[in-house]
Every structure is written in C-alpha cells, then in structure tokens.
Amino acid sequence: MSAAHASRALVLAGLACLLALSAKAATVDENTVREIAAELRCVVCQSLSVADSPSETAHQMREIVRERLAAGDTPEQVKAYFVEKYGLWILLSPPRQGFNLLVWVLPFAALGAGIVLVGVLVRRWSRRPRAAAPGPSPVDEATRARISREIAEMDR
C-alpha cells in the first residue's frame, strides 16, 4: 500500500472509530432512564413518578436523566444530582439509612410480630384442657356413621 493510501486508510479508520464511540456514548438504555425516572418524584403532580407523569416538567426531567446518562453518569450519580438540587424528598422512597430505616423496617417487624403473636395465641388456645369426654351415646353405629358423613359434607 502506498503512503497516501495508508494515511487515507488511517484517517478513515480513525473517523470510523470516532463515529462508533460517539454513537455508543449517545445511545442510552431507555430502560435505565425509566428505572431512574420511576424513583424520582414529579414535582408538580404529587404522587406520580417522573416516569409516569404526563407533565412538561417531568418530560424535561427525563431529558436531563437521558443527557446525564449519555455523558457517563451512573444511575446513582444521576439520582444524587437531583437530590442535591431538590433535597431528599425528590426521591419517591426514602433512602434506607438513618431515621428513614424506620419506614422500611417497621412494617416487616409488625408483620413478624403479628405472626408470632398469632402463633403464640393459637398454641395457647389449642392446649386448653378440654371438658371431659361425654359418655358413650345411645346412638347406634349406622346412624353415627351417617351423621359423621353429613357433618363432613357440611364442613366443606
């Protein structure tokens, strides 16, 4: 290959690399955008997330998320940016640390306590001494069998 050809090839190769790199940097996984947006609170619509809200503000915030991801930020960094500007309330659920741990832990603790309580109560109630068994009844076998069959049927 002549020098001219070689240098042209190099330039072309370099351009191709550049293009590939910029394309890679520009494509952002839409799922990641949605995931991050789903954890941010839309500031104008109360309980909706930025992912769900149809408002213009939310649209702009999604664009910002997209832009930051394309510039190389990690999802954590993107969220941190919003927290820095708006405060912790921009996150749709509080971070799991400090006082906020309470809201994450207490429901499960309550559930656990409830199950334990029911377990204890059921144990206690099923161990109560029962009244002395009644004496042999005057009912004959066939009737008794029929009665237990019908009871079984009713109990279902």
Partner: protein, 179 residues
C-alpha cells in the same frame, strides 16, 4: 383476672394518642413548603439568551447581587401580582450593583412576550426551553425567586409572589456584604 391486668387494657385507647398528636402537628406544616438544599451553596452557573437576544450568564455577574426570578405566563395570580413589585425593585436598585433576571419556564414564546409587554419589564428576561436552569435551581413551582450574593452563593429562596418588602430586605442584606 388480676388487678394488674385491669390497668393494661387502658393501653388500647392510650395507644391512639400519639397518632392524634402527630396528625395535629400536621396543621403546623405545609406540605408544599419545601426547604431548599441550595441555601449557602454556590449557585449553579447558567447561560441564557434573553428574549431580546442578549446573552446572559451567571459568571459575568460575579461581584453583583443577583436576583433570579422564575415565572410563567400561565401562573395566575401570583406571577401577575409580583411582576410590578419586581419592576419597582429593579428601578430602585439597578444602579446599586444588583442584577435582576427573569427566567420564563414551561411556557410558549407568544404568551411570555405578551406577559412582558403587559408589565413593561425593563430587566432582562430569558426563556428556559429545556428546563435545565429550573432543575438546576430545584424549582418546583412558579413563582420562585433566588437571591444570590456577590460571591455567587445562593442565600435566600422565596416561594410565591414576592413583595416590595421581601425584595428590599433581602437585597439590602446582601448589598451590605462585601464581595
């Protein structure tokens, strides 16, 4: 059952009391009143192009007290109430080293220009089409006004229509400080 058991049953109604107290506390708070985490921090830099074409940037205003006001033409009645106060504040302080910039957000050009025409603002106003600046300042409603000191730090944030008194108070405080 025993006497000790008798007293513990009153725990049931008593358990309700802390909840009621918490709910009562709720009357003293305003869920829409959110403290800004930007107070005391350096103000985010911005570059905007005003409606009349002039370039505006925070960097160029270093050394002056900057008042940044976010508004929209559909924000009725608050933005309409505060517009004259802003113009009055501008007229009173423009020669004393402040800069007042209005940032128009979530709006269209035509109604925004109509708003400006209605009030005859003489201070620069610029649109923020992609909402970058409004998010950079943690804006969640209109109107909101930020007071930035000479060193470029956000010192006060006012949510809602601004009045002459508030404008004057904050600006005077910041003007009194050295750069």
């Amino acid at each position: 059952m025993s006497e000790g058991r008798g007293a513990s049953r009153w725990l049931i109604p008593l358990a309700v009391v802390p909840v009621l107290i918490l709910l009562a506390y709720g009357f003293r708070t305003n869920p829409r009143d959110i403290p800004s985490p930007l107070i005391g921090k350096p103000a985010a830099p911005f570059t905007l192009r005003a409606f009349d074409g002039a370039a505006l940037s925070l960097e160029a205003l270093r050394g002056r007290v900057v008042v940044l006001n976010f508004w929209a033409s559909w924000c009725y009645p608050a933005c309409y109430e505060e517009a004259p106060a802003l113009e009055r504040g501008w007229q009173a302080y423009k020669d004393r080293g402040i800069a007042l910039i209005g940032v128009n957000i979530q709006d269209k050009e035509e109604p925004a220009k109509k708003f400006l025409g209605q009030f005859g603002h003489t201070f620069p106003n610029a649109p923020d089409p992609a909402g970058r600046v409004s998010v950079d300042y943690g804006v969640y409603g209109v109107p909101e006004t930020f007071f930035i000191d000479r060193a470029g730090r956000v010192r006060f944030k006012h949510v809602g229509a601004i009045t002459d008194a508030i404008f004057k108070g904050n600006v005077e405080t910041l003007l009194a400080e050295k750069a």
